[in-house]
Each structure stands twice: as C-alpha cells, then as structure tokens.
Symmetry: C2
Amino acid sequence: MNLPQHVRLVEVGPRDGLQNEKQPISVADKVRLVDELSAAGLGYIEVGSFVSPKWVPQMAGSAEVFAQIQRKAGVVYGALTPNMQGFEAAVAAGVKEVAVFAAASEAFSQKNINCSISDSLQRFVPIMDAAKQHGISVRGYVSCVLGCPYEGEVAPQQVASVAAELFAMGCYEVSLGDTIGTGTAGATRRLFEVCAGKIPRDKLGGHFHDTYGQALANVYASLLEGISVFDSSVAGLGGCPYAKGATGNVATEDVLYLLNGLGIDTGIDMDQLIAAGQRICNVLGKPNGSRVARARQT
Amino acid sequence: MNLPQHVRLVEVGPRDGLQNEKQPISVADKVRLVDELSAAGLGYIEVGSFVSPKWVPQMAGSAEVFAQIQRKAGVVYGALTPNMQGFEAAVAAGVKEVAVFAAASEAFSQKNINCSISDSLQRFVPIMDAAKQHGISVRGYVSCVLGCPYEGEVAPQQVASVAAELFAMGCYEVSLGDTIGTGTAGATRRLFEVCAGKIPRDKLGGHFHDTYGQALANVYASLLEGISVFDSSVAGLGGCPYAKGATGNVATEDVLYLLNGLGIDTGIDMDQLIAAGQRICNVLGKPNGSRVARARQT
C-alpha cells in the first residue's frame, strides 16, 4: 500500500450541497457555515455559485456571502462560474478562485446545459483568458465520469479526453465526478489509471456521490491510485439519505473518518466539522446525512 | 489487483438482522423472507437463533421457521447456538449447520456474555464434540475485531488468537466482525494480514457494520487481502440508517452492487434480493436500509 500522506478535501457543501437542497437559506446562515468550515480546518471551501437566482434560487446572495465571510489565511474560497457573466460577477465580488464544469457524456451535456461537450469547453475559453488576466485560479469539474443517467456507461478515455482539455486550457486541477453514484471501486481505479496517462495524478481529484453506498470504497480505491484530492459535502448536504432520488454527496465527516483511520493528514478537526454540519442540518430542518455524525450523536 | 473471482455472501438478515429489530415478526413472515432469499440465490442463510425467547423474543419460533422453509438444494440454512441447550434444540429442529461466537475483547465478553473469552471458548467444546457426532458443521464468529465499545482498540494479534482457537476447535470458517463499525480500510487489511498468519485466508470471512459508513470500503479492502466470504444483511436489517444508535449491518444489496461492479461472481439476483428486502421492510414498517434499494426505487 502506497497511500498519500496528505489529502486535501475540497468542501463543496455550501455550493454543490446547498444548491441541491430544496429550501434556500439566508446569507447569514451561509456565512456562518463557511466560517465554521474554515475554523474546522478545511483548506478549500466552495462558497457559492454565480448563476441567475431565477434558475438556482439556492445560490442567490453568493456575492453577499463572499463579502461577509471571515477570510482565514491560507483558505481558498471558490465559486462556480458557469459562464462569462457569472465569472464577471465573481470577480466583482472579490473571488480569487473559480470553477468551471463540463460533462463526460454528450447526452448529459445536451440535457443539462443544452450544448455539446465541445461547445461547453469553447465557452470557457474567454473565462480562462479573463482569469489569467485577473490572476484567478480555475478548477475544472467533469461530471458523469462513471456513468450517465442517459447513456449508461461512459468510457474512461472519454473522461480523460475532456479532463485533458480542461487541464490544457489552464485548469490547475480537474475533479472527476461520479454524478449519479453508480461507480464501483474497480471502475474508479481504471478511470484514474487512464486519466493519469494524460494528466499528472496530483492534478486529479475525485468527487463521489453515495447514492449506491459506494463513495467511500471509491475514495479508498482512488487513494490506492495515488489520488490525494477529494470533494465532499459536510453532513452530506445535497443528498438526502432518507428519501428516494437522493443525489448523495459523500459526507465530509465520513471521508475524514476514513482518512483519519488510514493515518492520512488533512488538518481538519472532526468535532468542529461535525458541529458545523449539525448546525446547518438544524437550519435546514433535515436529518444529518453523515453516518459518522449520527453515530457520534448517540 | 488480485481480487477473488467468486465471493460467498452469508445472509445474516433473518438472524443478526431481525434479532436487532425492536419488533418481533411472525414465523410466516420469517419463512417467506428465508425462502425469498434462497430464491434470490443466497447460498448461506442464517435462519435463526436457538436462545431463550425470554432474552431474545425476536428469535422465538426458530424451530418452526426451520420446519416450514422450503429447503433449496445447495443452500446452507444455519442457526446460532450460543450454548449446549441451544445446540440440542437446533439438532431437534433438523439444523445441519450452526454458528458459535466469541469476542476478541475481554471487556466485551464479560459485559455481553458474562464470562471471559477463555471460558466462552471452553463452553463450545461440548458443542463441537456433539456437532462432530451429528455431522453438523460449525461456523465461528469473532466480535469486536476492529474495536470494542469498552476497551477501544483491539490488537489484531488478539483477534487472530481467538479466531485460531475457534478454527482449531473445529470451526470450518471464522467470520471476523466489526461489531461497532469503527474499523477503517487500513486496519481491516492489517487484521486479515495478521490473522492469515494463523488461519488460511479462505477460511476467514468479514462481517462489517456500516455505523460509520465504512463497511463497503472495508469489504473492498478485505477483497484486496484475498478474503472471499462476507456476512451481510438484506435491506441492512438490524441497523437503522435513520436513527441514532444504529448497529448498522451492511446491506447485502450494497455489497452485491460492489461485487457486481468488480465483476465478481456471487450467483445472486439483484432484483429478487431487493424485492425480498423491501417486503421485509414493509412488514417491519421501516425504511429500507440499503442505499442501492433506495436508489433503485426512485
């Protein structure tokens, strides 16, 4: 076993998580969540998304959230910017790091953002240029890397190709997302093996959903492939472990528990993390989606 | 990666699962569950436990269940027999395979069965003798193999020692149980490495609880150690994924999903398995504890 000694967790709860919760919450609650997450030791927090609140009411007020958070030294506060308009709004809000996303599945790209993968990548060119001018780092996401709700299986080569384009365009890191959570450990390993042929392993991240309960096994499989960056969502925000149709973001607490058990350093304090997760669940009025958090509360 | 080509799943839902559900169910419902599980392709079903119904009311009627199930050729129908009285009752009920259990933790043994590990093993001697006379196979369980609620960490050497004693006494296979679900992938691998020094790997099984969400990662870690027998509980019976204090048996469906994804043969039909799990959840009036089952129902 040659596991990484250090892992960086990218906390996507305030963005990917809250975006998929039915109920929008206040700017004050978002700010508190972000500040509690940075206090817990998270080094990267995706704070919000610069999109039209008509389409994503949960992400309304992202500029206000950025204005009000207590910026902690060394912490990256990222924002999702699906288009140039969003990018400009992010810059105006003082954002220093943004993220863009593409799909590995042609059908998903068409249904989700109404254009081909190639067109979606082209749309990022001006964002990448502007980001360079402003000295803003850009992280890339690829979705549907281990399965597509419309196409079924997705070839690792296809994922690698999209990821390599994002990397070549200037994304400093590309996160591979199992959007529908259907991937298993062997497929996860093959995916990273193939992608590592085009992008250095330390520029790849894993983003797993626990819809089929496979997320932690996939994280472990990824670690065995030398992957050391994982996206996760505090309290499993964005997935509902109790209902049908859960999108199922893996809970940061559960990933941290695995990493702690493996003796891998993250710099994150479990107790503070659990407290932050429970607080936001109370705000949302929903049960905690982290098994570790639930087990600790007994 | 040198994964097993075939895995044998030991279905413990009707025993370990139902025993930990608050509400006892009827003999007819148990019979139907066992028959549906054998129809789904499970090759080993732990049907019940021969203990006093005063202590474990959920296991009342195990003899009737054994009398009424449709025995399918090639399927092993096991029973837990904690003592000689239980063993004799099992024999009278026509049981052909039994299981005995010991703890890897001294404190747990004292608190759970009120005697030392050594004494508990001594109590099995007459059972092993009688089993030999009756041509009955005996499976061994060791609990608390990756942590004890009273002692905390449990040394792998201690687990190996107890497992080796059970094996030497005549248990044809020893299942190592992470009773409190605190184990992680690295500890799981070390545990099997150490135990494999005393018992052949193909005589060892893994029994994981998902209390901290680690069960499938631990199953995958075990597979990487060449372990090819796992206990699991249909619909996660015995654990409640929605409540505090979940004991958290890993769901058979979720293990099967992982194994299917890895291309490992089990002979089990997922759809029939999910149907059996959902039916028993309806009887119990509780939500399904399998993530795969919930995802498939959307």
